[in-house]
Assembly symmetry: C2
């Protein structure tokens, strides 16, 4: 079952490597980006992981919502992996405006394995189509939640945000969702 394996892969090959270092990366970032430092919400020093139910992933968040702007990248993490010397792991910081125009900075990205689910649903030889894809996204989400709940090294360093497609017509739907989750923490 594809989604189960992709959730494990996302944990073993990415979240388990990067989440323990995230706090230090953000601290280093705020030291070199003093304008940003006050804009980090209490409890927003986590990786926000967007999981759209329709696996419809954008490569640039600002294309989804003009209240979101790319700000800068966190410092690179270099890790030797499977023969690749100094493989680079990085995250992007986005500036999100609320309805009063106040800016909030945070680290957010889509769950990359959903791109694989999407591509597979378009390739007939891969073995599943669009109807199964939604189900696979939910399995991915639940499996990932369970793995992360049991991971001591990742505790409190992430937030999984399942995006339903009910707000797809709201041009500021994504920023509102992100802000709601930022304010929920602690």
């Amino acid at each position: 079952n594809v989604a189960h394996g992709l959730a494990w892969s996302f944990y073993c090959g990415y979240l388990r490597l990067v989440l323990p270092r995230l706090e230090d990366s953000i601290i280093e970032f705020c030291a070199t980006h003093q304008a940003s430092a006050p804009l980090w919400a209490r409890g927003s020093r986590r990786l926000l992981i967007l999981i759209p139910i329709n696996a419809n992933i954008s490569h640039k968040l600002e294309e989804e919502d003009d209240n979101i702007r790319f700000y800068d990248n966190l410092p690179n993490n270099e890790i030797n992996r499977a023969g690749v010397r100094g493989r680079v792991y990085k995250h992007s910081v986005y500036r999100v405006l609320d309805e009063h125009g106040k800016a909030h900075d945070c680290v957010v990205e889509y769950a990359t394995p959903l791109l694989t689910l999407y591509s597979m649903s378009q390739e007939s030889s891969a073995g599943f189509g669009e109807p199964e894809r939604r189900q696979q996204v939910l399995i991915f989400y639940r499996t990932l939640q369970e793995i992360l709940d049991n991971s001591l090294e990742c505790r409190n360093r992430y937030k999984l945000i399942l995006l339903s497609d009910e707000h797809e017509d709201d041009p500021h739907g994504l920023s509102k969702t992100i802000l709601r989750h930022l304010q929920q923490q602690e």
Copy 2:
């Protein structure tokens, strides 16, 4: 079935993105590394992908065989992916000595998804153990072979090398295997 999804993930999220650019990266590398340029075998301008049957992956090839040395990395490729701005994709060039001490340069790495298969086989909650892992590696290899056979954009830009564990006691087993595959091409 986990290996099936990991093979698709490896293709959709990596090989399909990097293999079409590989030739140009190697040309650029040889222009800036003139000592290396004559050491590339005819037809070795491919990514050699190592698939050990026991999923036992090393992060540094030189630790497996002292006839192999890390030489340098190819130039970075930066691609915007799923909200990460300028995500870096790179490959490492290794210098491999044959039994006459002659050097051959090539781009080689392990198939990273095997690290996930290995980790999952160690975590009881993941649902499979060491006996199934070998079978999963074979499914990964065959699925990947089939996907790549049907991929026009990746044609002739890679070589899958399945490593059996029969030569594990030969300290130069890996370099000999790599050289045998390099000489096979064209």
